[in-house]
Amino acid sequence: MRVAVLSLSSCLGCQYVLLSMEEYFYTFIGENAIPYAPFLLDQKELPEVDLLLLEGTVRHGDDFRRLREARQKADKLVALGTCACFGGVPGLADLLTEERMMRMRYGEGAVIEGAPQGVKRLLPVDAYVSVDAFLPGCPPPEDLLQGFLKLALSGTLPSRLGATVCSECGVTSPPRTREGLRRLLSSVPEAGKCLLEQGFICMGPLTRDGCNALCPSSYGVPCGGCRGPCDEALLPPFQDLKGETLRRMERATGERKEVLEREIKDTAHSFFRYCLAEPLLRRRRPGGTATLLRRLGGEGRR
């Protein structure tokens, strides 16, 4: 099979997972033709391929042209990584204006000459072209990518009935201490116990499984939601990551929702770190996207 890897605006992390598959990577490049993969080969033009692994997201006009070209040349298009599936971390850029971002990164008055025009709103790639399969993760775990590739290269694009990170989590629920909202910077969580019940913001109940819940069960770090929202979070009656998490936090901490909302300093990073660009999670909010972004602390970019 002819397999290509294309990256739009991204950190290239998802491509490196291909390299970290160790032995399977050699089988992968041995059994398949790889005519285009900029991080491996010096090849400028994308040829026609059977399977295209696409990472990153559409950040400017140039990305859009490459995406459209890729869709025409690829028989099957796979969105690899959370950026391609849900917008990922680049989606948070919607909270700031273009000028503010340039100022923050490069200083006052900085201009990049000949830079392509940025998009007004960031969207996942399936909002622009049809996508045949999605493999979210920031980056996707190696064993998951390996399993996906094995099935995809045998001819059928796989899908998986997903659950949530909690379903894989090895913790047990402690009796609630109700100490209020807690942060990793100021307090140490008790190992092996549910972080949400201890008062930390954990996105496990609304995040897609597949990562073996490494962060909460092995490292004692609350889930940030890097695998993107689970099926239930994308479909009615939920579609409200913030509300659902606050409801659970309310129950765990014994504080009222309004108090918690005031205490949480950065709502966008806490609840929408990897999926702020997903239109399904924006549309149902009263007032639509612009109002949601303003409420999350955005600058009211039009």
């Binding site: 999605f134 796989p158 659950a163 949530t164 629920s173 949400l196 994308l234 479909l235």
Partner: protein, 96 residues
Amino acid sequence: MEDKDLTASHIRVDEERCVACRECMEICPQTRGAQYPVYEWGEEGMPQVANPESCIRCLSCELGCRARAITVEVEDDGSRRPDGDPRAEMKCRAIF
């Protein structure tokens, strides 16, 4: 009291997935303060289906379960949930 055959219940709790948060017992309108509660405390804090006949099939427990450990079988499968956005439905079908 005769023993109930719990395997015949239409509510299934996957104990491997369950994190014993006991949210189902708090959400279920037929458990808290009910004479014949649907759920009861089991071993290690896991919920156990005690009176499945009390269940009104509101699906609160299934939807509220953070670990997707509860499955409630209902006869009319078509009206279980409102339809989502076609794009979301497609995405959920194609995601790995």
